[in-house]
Symmetry: D2
Subunit: 161 residues, 4 copies
């Protein structure tokens, strides 16, 4: 696949995560790499590390948009560390650099990324993550998936140009 | 009240809003100014403008953290325009510059601010705004209020140092 | 003077400075406050602290755009702390929030602020600060001043709308 | 060369440039790719585009840290577009993501990047670019090179870990 046709997909989730979430994230990373996509993430541990590990095991490219001031903050599976030093404002860059987002579990940082993506009309695929309601009405803007393969399918199908 | 004792409270909400939300935001702004608090917001229209208008009518100080490149982007009731030009990454600065946050209605931008505040353990008081659940379990981190006075009371009580 | 007519002037310079630079910065701050201007700075020590001290002594308003994650990082003379947590990328915000910039001494951080201001066509008044040449040709874009009063005069005269 | 051993080198310079500067930038990009380095730049035209074109012609990896809100802003030789939407505050990220910086010509934006790099003790190699003096004393912190090969040699030799 020529580089310019490759899709950039963000995987977002907690810097700490359960064993089950890590397994899911690793499967998502693997599947993205097999399908020729480039993985974008926040570059740290937990879901980010597991997804990068999966992508790496299939020879995929992994980009880590780091909050801090050093490339050494990146997990060992990040091939392209981007050093921002803008703290959690870097969440916006993770999302804007991707054509679709896959959210796995996650805490409030992940929620901020989901919100920034929805604000930009970037598709968000959710695996065991947040659900939202506004003024008491459920808001179905997060697209649900049951497993890694379905999440990657949907992310690649719905990816923005 | 000596300046150093004044509390900084963010009011967040949509750049467009209903007449009811505007009325609520104006009442919140007024009440904050009466209580000697300094209003921080994103500096644009809708809820932000209404809150600034309310605070202004009581002689309060209003800070607008603007996403764009010009002070002229500020609504007319902003007394201290901060020109960031970092787009919606400025949402993080709105929240970090406040000791508590009052959310009124709002769309995904507001949701990102709520998330950034919760990530920082900054109290979020909600008036007709988002509610959250994670993995199917409600998350009660947004403190509910029924009216402007109650929201301001809670924000001032819970404000971080 | 009505608030909307007040001019926002940045004072930039090292977080550490000589006694002479501190004296100069304090005089600039004092003069800005006497003339009704609002002082914008990076909120830390050295030139920033001295300028805020001077402005404070004349009852002026002082805004500190902080690089870190806490309002407690501000020097004691900052009345309006803005907490960015975006590190030295906040230099851009200091400059964009001002209608003219007064540079006093300074190191590479100050040089970055001078450069960002010149990029935006924001007037830069220099007191014992950097001088520039490009491809061996002097570049006279920094306007020189001999003392605090002259620097403030020029900043207020040349301030952008 | 294993990915983790590759060096990240920024090439900075004007978004518009002379034919001579473009030729120099293209040679720098080519040489960086031949030596296995990864090129980081601001992703736009002029020096950035010429450097990416050179690196691309040798199969190198090119990263473009974009100021705006769309990957379509990148020049056609950027393989990894990073979409920041933080405007010229992204200059800080260009510099922080590199282990050394090569400056070619350039205007005030380039000067801001030189300053941010020097502030971080990141080596700056200059080709026909700015020179600096402080309080009337020349400051020799920019390392001069005479041609593309020398600039790349020095950048790779001096690159930080």
């Amino acid at each position: 696949m020529s580089p310019e046709k490759k899709k950039f997909i963000a995987v977002i989730g907690g810097g700490q995560c359960s064993a089950q979430e890590a397994k899911l994230a690793e499967a998502v990373g693997r599947e993205l790499a097999r399908r020729g996509a480039i993985l974008v993430c926040g570059g740290l541990g937990g879901v980010m590390k597991a997804a990068c590990k999966g992508a790496s095991s299939e020879g995929g490219t992994t980009i880590g948009i780091l909050p801090g001031d050093s490339r050494r903050q990146a997990n060992p599976y990040v091939r392209i560390p981007i050093v921002t030093n803008i703290g959690y404002a870097r969440n916006v860059i993770v999302v804007k650099s991707a054509q679709a987002v896959i959210a796995i579990g996650g805490s409030h940082g992940t929620l901020s990324e989901i919100a920034h993506a929805l604000q930009d009309n970037t598709p968000v695929i959710g695996l065991n993550t947040w659900s939202l309601s506004r003024n008491g009405q459920p808001e179905n803007s997060i697209i649900l998936a049951q497993d890694a393969a379905e999440a990657v399918d949907k992310a690649l199908d719905l990816a923005k140009n």
